[in-house]
Amino acid sequence: MSSSKTKSKTALLEEYGALSGKMLQILDYEGRVILAERLPKLSPEEMVTAYQNMLYARTADQMAVSYQRQGRMYTYPPNLGQEAIGVAVGSVMREDDWLVPAYRELSAWLAKGASMKDIFLYFGGHEDGSVLAGAKNMLPSAVPIASQLPHAAGIGYAMKYQGKKDIVFTFVGDGGTSQGDFHEALNFAGVWRAPVVFIIQNNQYAISHPRAHQTAAKSLAVKAEGYGIPGIQVDGNDYLAMVAAVKAAAEHARAGQGPVLIEAVTYRRGAHTTSDDPGRYRTEAEEQKWAERDPLKRLKGYLLAQQLWDETNEEPLISQYKKEIDQQFTEMENHPYDFKDIFIHHYTEIPDDLKQQMVAYEKFLNWKESQQ
């Protein structure tokens, strides 16, 4: 046990272990500190940056939804209410660490170096959105639920094998914990003591299916027990609790002690995707309850109380973000498309037969043009 005023971080994983039945919470719903001894050591600048990152992610997310509504982009999965989790991961994740995403952790993508242009390309129906050139050691989204998790375990193995100190952060939803891939990944990572931090974003729903019907287990964190690894349940709308947990988990993994499972309890305040209507399966009262626990509101409450934030900063900041994001959207709309890209990226060298298909198609395009 550390003798410093704040308790040691690894002890946190013990005290809040999956079987403890406790959820780590440092800020209450108004942003008042309720667990001072667990406050992560963050400088004022780090706190302010975190809030700004959350604000940026929220602004970008809301703009994505509205571009979709305007018919300028296709189906999009909103992140509203889940921003603290990715920002917390981003504050701990190092440049060489790996990010193995699902699809609803925009703030973590941005922290890793993905741009809004990338994200707009992807949801604008352009393959170039999966290149993510600015994000070192990051895989593209994984739409088939939970299929990314074994990759994270494998990358963890590769880090160990190569003697690297880099670790892996991977995301999954509450629904994803029902897939075999989730269990296999935790098991492999546990057996290998692979340096992987598994983050479940428990946003209470898998489309219409509520968490309570997803598993009979009391928590999702408790699933770690079956694989012999630490699990911890955290208030995912409490930025400071998330930072404390992610720091402890990353330290554990980086020290060669193996994987950690974090259940971040949050709420998907928006629709599952822009084609979903949550009114069919949940109540407004429930949505209201969770709006009151909003992560931005809570961190802002804390910052205001600490006199680290000036409310009048916010509007100008948001308009500055909007301008910059809209710029990236325009870049996406002007991004070129070449039909040959459909063919040439599947193999190191395009097989002859496939090349012939491309040539035959081009011939058709020429014929079609000649008909006009």
């Binding site: 296709y74 088939p144 063919f343 599947h346």
Partner: protein, 325 residues
């Protein structure tokens, strides 16, 4: 008679079979309260209760694997895969158990199960929501594979699929879900599995297609008609068992053959159809049997989708080449 789209027709078939047979269960992801992401199962849970129409945890292997257990224990599960792109976790169950149980037990246990799934592209969806991988199922001995192209067919074929004692993969062209409306008879009727339908008789070329592309072929036929080409159009309806006889008889008459399918070309359904024509109608051929299939690529995302999906012009172009051969 009621005017219905395909969503309503599938819903009607499920409704009728749930009402008729207490052994029929409908389950999958979001099929209960939500009524399915395409609303295909809308209202069924309210009508038949949570024991018979229900949401499962998110796990396709679990859905199909438990349905195998239910089937051998005397029930008739009709399960939904939310999209055909998400059936893969269930492949082990489908190949290793669903398709084989009857043969392994020499008929002692059968698997009267239907696995429904929306499939196919051109709806500007994100990754994994546009594939047309029916050939994978056709390749598995022991499965029947059915694809409707109209609301009427969807209802009659689905009723027949649920009544079949063999497992049926029932693939619904999601592009057509709300695209066509048609008069569909009330009450129960069936369309036999394993039988194709001649949709138009013609002289110069036989075109075989199924699913969403049938409509595109029909549009191509009006282009062809303007140039004096008359097309015989066959809607396959069942991709397995395959109706050799209807195809062969037609090609013996027209002497030319084109298949129009959506999935990747190599070892696809088109290859199988051309082989049948080669084997059974060789001496009637006036041009090489030909397939228009998807490229051997992942279907491009929305911005490139129009390159992948066969337009009426593209289909006409192939028809013309063969007739002028």
């Amino acid at each position: 008679m009621k005017i219905m789209n395909m969503v309503q027709a599938v819903n009607d078939a499920l409704d009728i079979m749930l009402a008729q047979d207490g052994k029929v269960l409908v389950f999958g992801e979001d099929v209960g309260v939500e009524g399915g992401v395409f609303r295909v199962t809308e209202g069924l849970q309210q009508k038949y209760g949570e024991d018979r129409v229900f949401d499962t945890p998110l796990a396709e292997s679990g859905i199909v694997g438990t349905a195998v257990g239910m089937a051998v224990a005397g029930l008739r599960p009709v399960v939904e895969m939310q999209f055909s792109g998400f059936v893969y976790p269930a492949f082990n169950q489908i190949i290793s158990h669903v398709a084989r149980m009857r043969n392994r037990t020499r008929g002692r246990y059968s698997i009267p199960m239907v696995i429904r799934m929306p499939y196919g592209g051109f709806i500007r969806a994100i990754e994994h929501h546009s594939e047309s991988m029916e050939a994978l199922f056709v390749h598995i001995p022991g499965l029947k594979v059915v694809i409707p192209s109209t609301p009427y067919d969807a209802k009659g074929l689905l009723v027949a699929a649920i009544e079949s004692d063999d497992p049926v993969i029932f693939m619904e062209p999601k592009r057509l879900y709300r695209a066509i409306k048609q008069e569909v008879p009330d009450g129960k009727f069936t369309i036999p599995l394993g039988k194709a339908k001649v949709l138009a008789t013609g002289e110069h070329i036989t075109v075989v297609s199924y699913g969403a592309l049938v409509r595109e072929v029909q549009k191509a036929m009006s282009l062809a008609k303007k140039t004096g080409i008359s097309v015989e159009l066959i809607d396959l309806r069942s991709i397995y068992p395959i109706d050799r006889e209807t195809i062969t008889r037609s090609v013996q008459k027209t002497g030319r053959f084109l298949s129009v399918t959506e999935g990747p070309r190599t070892a696809g359904v088109g290859a199988e159809l051309m082989s049948i024509v080669n084997e059974d109608a060789f001496l009637s051929l006036e041009a090489p049997p030909t397939r228009l299939a998807g490229f051997d690529t992942v279907p491009p995302l929305a911005q490139g989708e129009h390159h992948y999906h066969h337009s009426p012009e593209r289909i006409f172009y192939e028809i013309k080449k063969l007739v002028e051969y």
